[in-house]
């Protein structure tokens, strides 16, 4: 599946549209950036409640395909601008991390 396929989930909104054709191979959930850096797989859809600009650096350096910010949190302005520069997709959802993870599984991730 590619990032675009994630948008089948009605509870996901696009905050920053990066490369929607990037492959999504798996998911990862975490808010501690070094843990994400150490353990997230490449081509992950990464679910987090962090919304500050450093999530973009982590996603870019780790090769994450899309960031999903859960719980209704919105990315900071800085985060949006940097994600645009780095061509990283950021999606938001009002759902909690577990609920959005379930939805990802339901669509076949």
């Amino acid at each position: 599946m590619v990032v675009r396929d994630l948008l089948k989930i009605e509870d996901l909104k696009v905050a920053v549209e990066g490369d929607l054709d990037l492959n999504v191979a798996c998911g990862y959930m975490g808010d501690l950036l070094s843990v994400v850096m150490g353990y997230a797989e490449e081509e992950s859809a990464w679910i987090t409640i962090q919304s500050h600009v450093n999530i973009v650096a982590v996603a870019a350096l780790r090769g994450v395909s899309a960031i999903i910010i859960a719980h209704g949190f919105e990315p900071d302005e800085d985060t949006v601008e940097t994600a645009k520069d780095e061509n990283i997709t950021i999606l938001t959802t009002p759902l909690n991390p577990f609920e959005i993870a379930k939805k990802l599984v339901e669509i076949g991730l």
């Binding site: 808010d31 501690l32 950036l33 070094s34 843990v35 850096m37 150490g38 490449e42 987090t48 962090q50 500050h52 600009v53 450093n54 999530i55 650096a57 982590v58 870019a60 350096l61 780790r62 090769g63 800085d78 780095e86």
Partner: protein, 137 residues
Amino acid sequence: MTFDYVVDPSEPERAGRASTKFKGVLKELGVSPKVIRALSIAMYEGEINMVIHANGGTIHCDVDSDKIRVIMADSGPGIPELDKAMQPGWSTASTEARELGFGAGMGLPNIKKWSDNLTVDTKVGVGTTLTMEFNLQ
């Protein structure tokens, strides 16, 4: 070829700039994606450490034909218990740093994991220098 960066501690939420810049340089030089990934993760962790623990620092990168050496030096507090700092999950980060998602106690363990060789030269009250090497072949 050498590249130098200064890590500014004033905006912790923007840490990672140097790693992102050097990643771009390595891409242009045609370094393999595997090495770029390992190096950029290790360098990012070093950069975060400089910002949350050491009031910034400097980074010197040497690109040779067979390896890349990244030297990250700060004049911070030094690491009093290096053996503990090398253990995953052990951290002395502040509450503020933890709220940003830093301070998971994975910084030095991640650097060790992703580099081919790591030397930590640290002295309490003087500072810390990390020398990490990444093999190109």
